[in-house]
């Protein structure tokens, strides 16, 4: 039930405080587009280096998201459905990347997957993490996977276990129940989590720059242009990636809502 709006001092205080935070959240974004000017935006869109950097960022973030859908959903389901020894510890581990500085995460990843035994092991399969798209992917995944895993965990918790039990009595194996009942009924949270993870991956900078400077993701390109040429060269790139991200985000949200 929603409360009826009344023009009292409490509501006025709520609105004033809300307007302050909305100002800080929205004005810098709007300023990106208004301040840059249409000529510079069009030039930037035509700039091959910018476009390939945006496509690379979106593509690798998508890879990371797909990888976590395959591996993170089973983990989220396990946590949501079962009680087991070390469950709280496991949940804490999943949340750690959200809390640590991203550059620290980059150092941790470099120490693990760089010139180390584990890095050497992956090299056997042709997978190298320093200076490659795999490196970008692992940095994005490390820092943004918790958004998808936690959202999916909440989604699975909302699915009544009785639905899964009834489906078993109707002939479905546990695998089929997972795909026919558990995932479809948790899809809203899963889609939200996947979008959060993907968009969070787009903005990943601190960890990516330590593992991979080239090929340049858009955040690295913006930093590179800002440090080499100043604000006027980096701002249009920022505006374009914001625009592209918002567009993709809206399209996916629209499609997800249509199927809801």
């Amino acid at each position: 039930m929603k409360l009826t709006y009344k023009n009292n001092s409490f509501n006025i205080a709520l609105i004033v405080l809300a307007v302050i935070i909305v100002f800080f959240l929205s004005v810098p974004i709007l300023k990106m587009f208004v301040g840059v000017g249409s000529d510079k935006l069009i030039d930037t869109i035509k700039d091959g280096e910018v476009i390939s950097s945006i496509l690379l960022t979106m593509k690798v973030s998508l890879w990371a998201m797909i990888f976590v859908i395959f591996t993170g959903l089973p983990l989220a389901y396990l946590i949501a459905r079962y009680d087991f020894f070390g469950k709280s510890f496991l949940e804490a581990i999943i949340d750690i990347p959200i809390m640590i500085p991203h550059t620290a995460a980059g150092i941790a990843l470099l120490s693990t997957f760089g010139d180390t035994g584990l890095g050497g092991f992956f090299k056997i399969f042709g997978i190298e993490f320093v200076g490659t798209e795999y490196g970008i992917m692992i940095a994005m995944m490390f820092l943004s996977a918790p958004f998808l895993i936690n959202a999916a965990k909440d989604g699975f918790r909302k699915v009544d276990p009785k639905l899964e039990k009834v489906a078993r009595t109707l002939g479905a194996s546990p695998f089929r129940v997972f795909f026919a009942i558990s995932i479809p009924n948790a899809r809203k949270d899963i889609v939200n989590g996947a979008l959060m993870m993907w968009s969070r991956g787009l903005g990943e900078f601190g960890a990516v720059i330590i593992l991979v400077y080239h090929p340049m993701t858009t955040p690295v390109l913006i930093f590179d242009r800002f440090s080499s040429y100043g604000l006027s060269y980096s701002a249009p790139v920022a505006a374009v990636i914001i625009g592209f991200s918002a567009l993709v985000f809206l399209i996916i949200r629209f499609i997800a809502n249509r199927f809801d």
Binding site: T169, L170, G171
Partner: protein, 328 residues
């Protein structure tokens, strides 16, 4: 061996245990499992369906099915809140089992169920748009479509508007016969049990306390706890009526206890007591009479007495006949 034979079924989860449950259920029997909330009824149904791990054995037509997965047990399950799949519409819910099992004469069977349960106009509807009664019919249809041999019903009438309960109870009986089922119906409502059951088992704290015909269980409870659960009133030590048989307690229905007005003997047992309280309720009075240390509860129709006997304490004589006494 019985059609469905459960031997020493036990399980323990979160501090609650089912202890050595033994049940023999015959083919075509409507078996009602009667128990209070938290007595382990749903847990027992889930264990029979293989949804809850347990020890002991379950034999179905002499085959041991305890080790089989739920999807291979030929058991239909209808939960109290129906557990319909929100991601599927009504028709998709009903035919769900068809995705994983071969249903013989599927189209005819589907049409028969839809006609019988009057679901034709609901087939395209979303689950969230259904009423409680409609949801129940869809849940029954979904279970029946899979052609189970055993149907497990977990409090199927508790979420239904009381005005429709009698009609639905009738329908449940029809379903049971029409689809040649063996049904286990869980409830806490003994009226439901007396109408539906061929056999009743009373479950308390995870143990089966009594099994028998509806008359046996509902009129002759084995223990004082079962009697109280079944709504028996006026439960007193048998010594009060000089009982010669071995029962420790007896009970007498508040409706058959009479107030003895004249001196002549009208009843087999007559007691003198003190009226403690008299409450006027629509068409009858509730009278509470203390006889020695025992408190009798009596219902007297208002047509027999114009006013409540008295709200002040005074002596009266009450009586009842031997034929109205139930020994426990």
């Amino acid at each position: 061996m019985s059609y469905l034979s459960i031997k020493n079924l036990s399980n323990s989860v979160a501090g609650f245990s089912l202890e050595n449950i033994c049940l023999d259920i015959e083919k075509g029997e409507y078996f009602v499992l009667l128990g209070q909330s938290g007595s382990g009824k749903t847990r027992l149904l889930e264990a029979i369906a293989g949804l809850d791990s347990s020890s002991g054995s379950i034999h179905y037509k002499e085959d041991e099915i305890s080790e089989k997965n739920p999807e291979h047990r030929d058991i239909g399950f209808v939960y109290q809140d129906f557990a319909l799949f929100p991601n599927l519409n009504v028709e998709e819910n009903i035919v769900f089992s068809g995705r994983y099992r071969e249903i013989e004469d599927a189209q005819e069977h589907f049409k028969d169920i839809v006609d019988f349960l009057e679901l034709k106009d609901l087939l395209d509807r979303c689950i969230k748009d259904l009423s409680g009664g409609e949801k129940q019919r869809v849940a029954l249809a979904r279970a029946l479509y899979s052609k189970p041999k055993i149907l497990l019903l977990d409090e199927p009438l508790s979420a239904i508007d009381p005005t429709f309960r009698n009609a639905i109870m009738k329908k449940l009986k029809e379903i049971h016969r029409r689809y040649d089922l063996t049904t286990i119906h869980v409830t806490h409502n003994f009226r439901e049990a007396s109408y539906l059951a061929d056999k009743i088992a009373v479950i308390m704290n995870g143990k089966i306390e009594q099994i028998g015909s509806p008359d046996e269980v509902l009129n002759h409870p084995k223990t004082i706890e079962i009697a109280k659960f079944l709504g028996f009133k006026n439960i007193f030590p048998a010594s009060l009526i000089n009982d010669k048989n071995k029962s420790k307690y007896f009970s007498v229905d508040p409706n058959v206890i009479r107030i003895v007005k004249e001196q002549n003997v009208c009843c087999d047992y007559i007691f003198e007591g003190v009226v403690e309280e008299c409450m006027g309720i629509t068409d009858h009075f509730k009278l509470f009479v203390k006889v020695d240390e025992n408190h009798f509860f009596i219902k007297i129709p208002k047509r027999e007495y114009e006013n409540c006997l008295s709200n002040s304490k005074h002596s009266i004589r009450i009586g009842f006949d031997e034929k109205d006494v139930s020994y426990i």
